[in-house]
């Protein structure tokens, strides 16, 4: 016997109902609006039984008399369930706390998946895309970036020509594919653009004391280009932006990143790993060509004397250019014997270098 509420589908009146179940039918006793008992007999074939999980109630509805229904608390239903034929019994597995745990488990899994995807899968895919990016598109991209910053750079075409000769002489690469430019600005810096453009600032050249430093800086930048560092970086920041905007639903932002990144490629900071890679591989390239890798170390020392001092350890950690001293250490460990292995062309390099430094 179970107690529930009976609704007749005609008015909103609630009627107390007592339900007895048997294998064929439900016997229902309700009290009508005057309080008199009334007997109903619902054939089990003509009713639907449903568990409303949110209202946590069992609802019995008459199929032959639409609108007539009975509502039972779950515990009341369970008290008559055993008397119902098996095929009509509800399969109720409800335990809100158990369910909450499943929710927590799924959420944690999703979060873990997201974190893993964000830090591992995404950079991996970005890397793949960057490495397979068509070369002529990369060149076009680099060219348009270079065009957009050309005015600010104040390019000196004569010195650029000399610089190009210097670079070609190094034999790092097929000379046609990399273009080197001399910028008349005072920055103590040089940078590489995807597709093979290297810009060296006047400030850096004048700070150098030795042509081997120029060999070093060109080797360093060339490695950035060869390993597509900036392209990889661009794709990486793009992909993480894509992921974030997928979560927060802002796709328009991607366009902003592309524009922003292409404009700021110059100040784009490579990761510490990339810088170190460019140092070591650049020096190796120099050795391969019989140039003195000491040039790379001298270059770091020049940069060091001209860079603002970073006192605190925190700043050192935050800086994307690994601390210059650390970079020097790395190089010195890699090339301990500072024996000068002079290349036969050194005189030519020296002359071009001095030419570049000369005020005209």
């Amino acid at each position: 016997m179970a107690k529930g509420k009976y609704f007749d589908g005609l008015t909103s009146s609630e009627h107390e109902a007592t339900i007895n179940a048997s294998l064929q039918s439900l016997g229902i006793i309700i009290s009508d609006s005057y309080g008199r008992p009334k007997f109903l007999n619902w054939n089990l074939e003509d009713i639907s039984i449903e568990f409303n999980e949110f209202a946590k109630r069992v609802e019995l509805e008459s199929k032959t008399e639409p609108g007539k229904s009975i509502e039972l608390e779950l515990s009341e239903y369970l008290s008559i369930q055993d008397q119902l034929p098996k095929n009509l019994r509800l399969d109720i597995r409800q335990n809100p706390f158990k369910k909450l745990w499943i929710f927590v488990a799924i959420s944690l899994f999703l979060l873990a998946f997201f974190v893993f995807g964000y830090f591992k899968i995404l950079p991996f895919l970005a890397e793949k895309v960057a490495m397979n990016f068509p070369e002529n598109y990369e060149k076009k991209l680099g060219q348009s970036v270079f065009e957009s910053m050309k005015n600010d750079l104040d390019i000196d075409s004569v010195r650029s020509h000399d610089l190009q000769l210097f670079f070609n002489g190094l034999g790092y690469d097929d000379p046609k594919s990399v273009k080197v430019f001399y910028s008349k600005t005072e920055d103590i810096n040089a940078f590489a653009i995807p597709g093979g453009i290297i810009v060296v600032h006047k400030g850096l050249l004048n700070a150098m004391s030795d042509y081997t430093e120029l060999q070093g800086v060109l080797a360093h930048e060339f490695v950035h280009i060869q390993l597509k560092h900036s392209l990889r970086l661009l794709f990486r920041s793009l992909s993480s932006y894509l992921a974030i905007s997928l979560v927060f639903g802002d796709i328009n932002g991607i366009l902003a990143v592309i524009i922003q990144n292409s404009n700021e490629l110059r100040s784009l900071s490579y990761s510490r790993a990339m810088e170190t890679e460019a140092d070591i591989k650049g020096a190796a390239l120099m050795v391969e060509r019989d140039f003195d890798p000491e040039g790379m170390i001298k270059l770091m020392e020049t940069l060091k004397t001209h860079s603002p001092k970073m006192e605190s350890e925190v700043l050192k950690y935050l800086a994307t250019h690994p601390d210059l001293e650390l970079r020097i250490d790395n190089l010195e460990k890699a090339y301990p014997n500072k024996a000068n292995t002079l290349n036969a062309d050194s005189l030519i390099f020296k002359n071009i270098f001095l030419n570049l430094k000369n005020e005209r």
Binding site: L10, E14, F54
Partner: protein, 315 residues
């Protein structure tokens, strides 16, 4: 004991929410109508009035057909734009056609609202008694376009009157068994609420938004009346919610969403519903015992999803 309240804290919706969300994402949103049906069932089943819960009888399947129709409209809209591009017309011709289509879309809004209201109210029930929306599309469309036009040419100044007219029409055509409703809000009163908002929002560095929400909520609640023609009685709803309550609601909701990366949505939903429902007072003398059944079934769900997409809320 409250007569009208929301009965859950969000716990029971957590699992259905995440499972449905995953399905929606995996099916590229095709599953969305089913997800929505579950959500509506959750909401309705937890709104309690005099010890009985509300029911939402709509199904994902019904809403899916409406959703497909809507998708077809959207594809048609963007597809036609693509075709126009391919036709090699002048940019002005394309722009003209595009603007005309956009205007056509604006004209479609009342259709969607009407369809959505018809479906939603027809699927709402309490103790077996159906709700219903008996507005006429023609009347509603005329009203919407007329007042919409006035809003347009007054650069939005007319908006409060527009909003009140629409609310008056919609509320006036909602039936709950033999009961019906009335909205008494006046455009000029609503205009004052807006005016204060515009004047004070900058001075208070945006903090006035909570007071504005309060005023807005109280305005719509306090101007809604339940009418029982058989007894010849009218029952006024009321609300005394404070701006501080709004502040607390919104700030905590924001914190929940941010710190759970959106996974805390079920609790935010429950908090919103509790806030909404628990702040509506029903007059003591309003009896829910003898509401007579008058409304019938209605199944076309076109509009149900459109109003969702257009973010037009109504209750």
């Amino acid at each position: 004991m409250r007569r009208f309240y929301f009965a859950d804290t969000g716990n029971t919706y957590a699992l259905p929410f995440i499972l449905n969300r995953i399905l929606t994402i995996l099916t590229l949103s095709l599953y969305y109508p089913w997800e929505k049906a579950v959500q509506l069932k959750y909401i309705y089943n937890n709104i309690m009035l005099d010890g009985s819960h509300f029911d939402f009888l709509g199904t994902g399947k019904e809403m899916f057909y409406g959703y497909l129709k809507l998708l077809a409209l959207i594809i048609l809209f963007y597809g036609s734009f693509g075709v126009l591009m391919a036709l090699d017309l002048t940019i002005y011709a394309i722009l003209f056609i595009y603007i005309m289509t956009a205007i056509g879309f604006i004209f479609a809004v009342p259709f969607f609202i009407h369809g959505g209201l018809r479906y939603r109210w027809a699927k709402t029930q309490w103790r077996g008694i159906h709700f219903g929306y008996r507005g006429e599309l023609k009347e509603f469309f005329y009203l919407y376009v007329k007042h919409g036009f006035l809003t347009l040419i007054t650069f939005g100044i007319y908006y409060p009157w527009f909003r009140c007219q629409i609310q008056k029409y919609i509320t006036g055509h909602i039936k709950f068994g033999h009961l019906h409703f009335e909205f008494r809000g006046k455009g000029e009163d609503y205009f004052v609420i807006y005016l204060k908002f515009i004047l004070l929002i900058y001075i208070t560095l945006g903090l006035y938004i909570f007071r504005f929400w309060r005023n807005n909520f109280n305005f719509f609640t306090n101007n809604t009346v339940i009418i029982d023609d058989e007894k010849g009685e009218k029952y006024k709803l009321s609300s005394e919610v404070t701006a501080w309550a709004f502040f607390e609601l919104k700030i905590i909701n924001l914190l929940i969403l941010v710190f759970t990366l959106g996974l805390g949505f079920p609790w935010v939903l429950a908090r919103n519903m509790s806030f909404l429902i628990n702040n509506i007072e029903i007059p003591v003398n309003f009896s829910t015992d003898h509401i007579r059944q008058t409304e019938t079934d209605y199944n076309d769900a076109l509009g149900e999803d459109a109003i969702d997409m257009l973010d037009i809320g109504f209750i």
